[in-house]
Symmetry: C2
Subunit: 147 residues, 2 copies
């Protein structure tokens, strides 16, 4: 088997195994907080990329500005988001996670990665070293390919 095909297959196998678990767990966690997945995704986005404007939400999620506005409105009501006027353009709004929103996401991340930590514990030290190195390679490559 050619190398490139082989690694491609290992990557897919891992991603398949991981994605299923991961998406289910996000869903569960979101549900346990009373948030819907779209709402949760917005919080995740803010956590990942930092504060942004309303239009960025609408673009990133590929929905109309109206939809974005309604989605954000609910999160503001729930106290997870802060929506302030953009000083440089008073038509625009600036969105950021509230402390409570940030706490929620941190907690979700912690829960979500717990099984991965358990998984790592089952590896021998040599395996851990190999895995660690490989992941750094991948992450570096992913950053350089980032759009």
């Amino acid at each position: 088997m050619p190398k490139t095909l082989q690694i491609s297959q290992s990557l897919r196998a891992w991603m398949d195994a991981f994605m299923h678990r991961s998406m289910r767990e996000w869903g569960r966690f979101a549900k346990s907080t009373g948030l819907t997945m779209p709402q949760f995704s917005v919080l995740m986005q803010l956590h990942h990329k930092g504060p942004c404007g309303m239009s960025e939400i609408s673009e990133r999620f590929e929905v109309t500005p109206a939809a974005a506005s309604q989605l954000v409105e609910k999160l503001v009501q729930a106290g997870y988001l802060e929506r302030t006027e953009d000083p440089s353009d008073r038509r625009a709004k600036l969105l950021s996670l509230s402390p409570s929103g940030a706490r929620l996401i941190e907690q979700g991340i912690a829960e979500r990665y717990r099984w991965m930590d358990d998984l790592i514990k089952t590896l021998s030290p040599e395996e851990q070293a190999k895995v660690s190195e490989a992941l750094e390679i991948l992450t570096r490559a992913a950053q350089s390919v980032e759009t």
Copy 2:
């Protein structure tokens, strides 16, 4: 830095980078097919675990049997799922991907992993070998931890 912490961090970094891209792409693809995420998830589940009964859907997605039934009904109507009587218990139903459903998922997977293949191409042969080995270790570990 202790090994276990280090690998845990590399794993998280990679997963963060990967998950965001991945979930967005699944969403896009699902939308392009006219399916909703829950519908799509059911197809994915079937693809991943093979045929199963109605009750398994309801358990796995943590929804009532009624909800599962309605969800499946739409997928059957759309021609992506086949629903047959379980010969060993005529109350139960057996669900499996139709050829068209299988094709859909294969295509989604192919599109979804394209960027990963591009990513792999940027690695040197030695890096590819390391990554490949590490991913096999992880996948094996994930399977043995599987609930």
